[in-house]
Subunit: 363 residues, 2 copies
DNA sequence: TTGTAGGCGTTATCAC
DNA sequence: GTGATAACGCCTACAA
């Protein structure tokens, strides 16, 4: 019989370490050692203990261990409340790769959604300050902060992914958006394009700033004016990519001096944009070239197949976890603040030289 | 100074309940009550305690509470290792809706991946038997089971989603796949189609069985033979939907007696299939009608826009959580074993009457 | 190499 | 209404 002073009514829980110890005829502490530190215990005792544990189907209680050692073994990933999930599979890929990498390090993954409400911030801070999690990977631009508490001073190892938060002191894993877009734009210029349409996500978002800068840099390098690019969008979230594309198609239709190339900042917007302008009678890439962003597999099956800049999510997830693990295990060692993974342009048939150049080939 | 007998070196942790008690000038137990059970404590004391807690930035330690009450407040979602993430956004939507619903009930969401390896099964069982999680939502057809332990007898409230596991005693939330496909097929028959191509996911998978049965039922009801449908695929995972579609296009090309309608069991396969057969010169829906499955938003922007059967993920997630909460809070009450949410066919331009019927309209 | 014992931070019971 | 106190299950410093 167990004692039951000060305890609530309880359904039967599984076997305890004490049960294993009794069956193996040793002290509890020996069981603990045998399980956690097999080297520090006699081989024969260890075998007896293992057998007993297996026989009872013993599983250590994670919360008791966590409380005792003052460390949890779960990591939280903070996803923006308005989660972007388009054709790009970014989120599932991130989750998959992070979870896999964490598992190999003995950690679990917990999901937290960061909305615009104080409630979701409070929840995340509870997770952080309540010792539930041991570290965080954040995919949102804002650090949770509400009534005095802030993730920034939770003493919680935190890594940012996709967005550069190194300014806020958070080590970040990002892609070279700007460079990739600059190169893609330079390619278009090289093909003869001189007038561009840029499809923007939410204005002033890190990605928008980076990617648009890439366009502008390419124009400057080619001696072209910034006025060579027309911006569309800026008021909708990436989540509404399809709507951005539709709006951009309207904008395009209304332009007197038509661009010959479009640069979309997500595959969603590229796809709906392309669909709509084709329906308007425009031919692609003949009448308009399109380059897009995200590297969604489905782009290969658009008509025409869509050129797109791929983001190596698998690699980014692995690196984020590696940096996080280092931050946990060796806190004294200052991590690299900005970690860049290279994007790759996947070239497909949505890009060609502009028609006027093909027609009168004298440039 | 804190005592430190038998304890490892420790970095400073946050304020404790004892600190709040000291600052408020009450006993620890009163603080505990004030925070968890505000009604059972004097209004003025409660206010003093709240103020003290806020001032110190106190956050209760979740593991200590969990250990004490013998219950955790996290739920795990078990995702298949070969995670299907195509254009359909099924997984992100599921996660989003489940997480949101759990949050409202005060629970956290933990991710677990169930691969084909014993290691991942062991990990999940550790979570279950180690008291880390309070319940599980499983999206995989196999219940983790390894060396004696099985999720089936972990005493862990478990709900299946997408797949019907009611046979295994697991309450399930599913869509009416079969019925939806039957109706869609009946529509095609009604339009005049008499010969069909069926694009299958992995053979004998629950979804494949259900959906193909739907096709066969419709044929039978119309007095047509089962030989009216040709199956393609069956050897690849849904994850490789694009490849299934490409293979189906080859199969289609090789058929002497061409089907006039195709039924795809995921949007991915429909999209790559359509892309490939169009490239072969086939016109859609003129030469071939296509109906697909998943309801991916991108289908609206295919050319032609793709008819697809939508799965209401949001609703399914909410129901799964509702049932899980009931299973946790009222274990004596037997839950409904099979919970069906209706799918909806989104009709678009990829479906039309077969050409021969349009041409000689005498049937 | 093994056993003893104290305590991680919280909550529930019991007594006042 | 409030305070003292004993657990929850495990780990580790220390003694043997």
């Amino acid at each position: 019989m167990r004692k039951n002073k000060g305890m609530p009514m309880e359904e039967q829980s599984g076997p305890l370490m004490a049960d294993v110890a009794r069956l193996a005829g040793v002290a509890i502490s020996t069981v603990s050692r045998a399980l956690a530190n097999p080297g520090r215990v006699n081989e024969k005792t260890r075998a007896r203990i293992d057998a007993a544990a297996k026989k009872l189907g013993y599983t250590p209680n994670a919360m008791a261990r966590g409380l005792r050692v003052g460390k949890s073994n779960t990591i939280m990933i903070i996803l923006p409340g308005s989660l972007y999930y388009g054709v790009s599979q970014v989120i599932p890929q991130v989750l998959q790769s992070i979870n896999k990498a964490l598992l190999q390090n003995g950690y679990n993954l917990m999901i937290a959604n960061l909305g615009r409400d104080a409630e979701s911030e409070r929840h995340i801070l509870d997770l952080a300050f309540g010792g539930t999690v041991r570290g965080a990977i954040i995919l949102s631009s804002k650090l949770p902060e509400v009534d005095g508490r802030s993730l920034a001073n939770a003493g919680l190892p935190t890594i940012s992914m996709l967005l550069d938060m190194s300014d806020a002191g958070v080590p970040s894993v990002v892609t070279n958006d700007r460079e990739a877009v600059r190169d893609a734009t330079a390619d278009l210029i090289h093909l003869g394009h001189r007038r561009f349409l840029y499809l923007a996500g939410p204005e002033n978002n890190y990605h928008d700033l980076e990617r648009f800068s890439g366009v502008v840099e390419a124009l400057q390098e080619a001696g072209l004016s910034e006025s060579a690019v027309v911006r569309s969008g800026g008021n909708l979230d990436y989540q509404h990519g399809f709507d951005i594309g539709l709006q951009a198609a309207s904008d395009f239709a209304a332009l007197a001096d038509k661009p010959t190339a479009a640069i979309a900042t997500s595959d969603d917007m590229a796809i709906s944009f392309m669909s709509r302008v084709q329906r308007m009678g425009l031919s692609i890439p003949g009448g308009l070239s399109i380059v897009s962003f995200d590297g969604s597999p489905v782009c290969a099956f658009c008509s025409p197949p869509l050129s797109t800049i791929e983001q190596p999510m698998e690699e980014m997830g692995q690196m984020a976890v590696a940096i996080l693990m280092a931050a946990i295990d060796r806190p004294e060692q200052k991590p690299e603040m900005r970690n860049v993974i290279r994007s790759r342009l996947i070239q497909r048939e949505s890009v060609a030289a502009p028609v006027w150049l093909l027609a009168n080939n004298f440039n």
